[in-house]
Symmetry: D2
Subunit: 109 residues, 4 copies
Amino acid sequence: MSDLEELRKAIVKFTQERDWDQFHNGKDLALALSIEAAELNEAFLWKEVSEVNLEKVKEELADVFNYAILIADKYDLDIRQIVLDKIKRNAEKYPVEKAYGNAKKYNEL
Amino acid sequence: MSDLEELRKAIVKFTQERDWDQFHNGKDLALALSIEAAELNEAFLWKEVSEVNLEKVKEELADVFNYAILIADKYDLDIRQIVLDKIKRNAEKYPVEKAYGNAKKYNEL
Amino acid sequence: MSDLEELRKAIVKFTQERDWDQFHNGKDLALALSIEAAELNEAFLWKEVSEVNLEKVKEELADVFNYAILIADKYDLDIRQIVLDKIKRNAEKYPVEKAYGNAKKYNEL
Amino acid sequence: MSDLEELRKAIVKFTQERDWDQFHNGKDLALALSIEAAELNEAFLWKEVSEVNLEKVKEELADVFNYAILIADKYDLDIRQIVLDKIKRNAEKYPVEKAYGNAKKYNEL
């Protein structure tokens, strides 16, 4: 079994044991994901990047994956496939010769 | 090779080809993640959950995974392990007998 | 004194008394604002809109205003002016005859 | 008329002219606020704070105020009062003698 499938199964099992599917519509799952992303950002707030609290990064990043995987499950999306597809589209959008090493262009190509 | 390792390698390769590592400190990666999470939420804004734009969900969820994987890579975190660890801690925090099927308690256990 | 000016003065005084200006660069202030916005959203998570916790809305909305006012202060922006300017631009972008009462178009005009 | 009341009236008028009240439930307004906060953060992404795009800050901060004021209007909250109340509570939570000028404590008092 792939590791993404292993994680999906573990998360879905956790959710079903608690009968939480009923709350897990796509809109609230996306909202929960962005709340966890904000908590991850809190690990960096008012700090130099070197001062980050790594334990908090681990915890909050795990929560981000948790909800991202639940959203993929909700809409029957193949995580591996959508990520590889997006890399392909990004490669067209940001060709190496235009995007290489330029901070200013990175955002505005 | 595991799915997650395959995705990590593809994303890191994409980044290195463009020499974008220099911009990818943990703090900005976390910021980028939460911006993508907001764009995912935009797919649901002012809408019933059934009206969601599924193409946008796919695109933005892929971006969320992209940055989440880059953060894990930046801090040498084993995604499979941190997610399984978090499920374990959540199982202690939300025991089935207390958490089962109760919307009100879901948030305030 | 206008009420926005009264609030700005009270918030700046609070910050200066604690010597927190040193942490309040624009980037971290914007980050703090989006973390407070996420906490405001938490008041609605997994809930029907009618079930919202109004005390939490008050608290988190106050925090949102707090950081938004600090950002305006940091960049010497006249809040009244930038908001009125934006309404004007939005009125051009969303003319009444095209935007009137159409949920689908609301997002895609 | 106070500044805040002037802005509230202008925003509510804009909304009513387009018959957009029907979309403006508290949950979606809070979601819209956090999407605008993310767009504000985008003005700082991958950049030193000094490189910020000030025009984008103005635009997105105005959008943040727009939704924050609509939420206050939705729940009949007196913005001046909730902000002053919060400053008072924060003054108790972060007494000057403990909070003064300490980055580490700023977050963990």
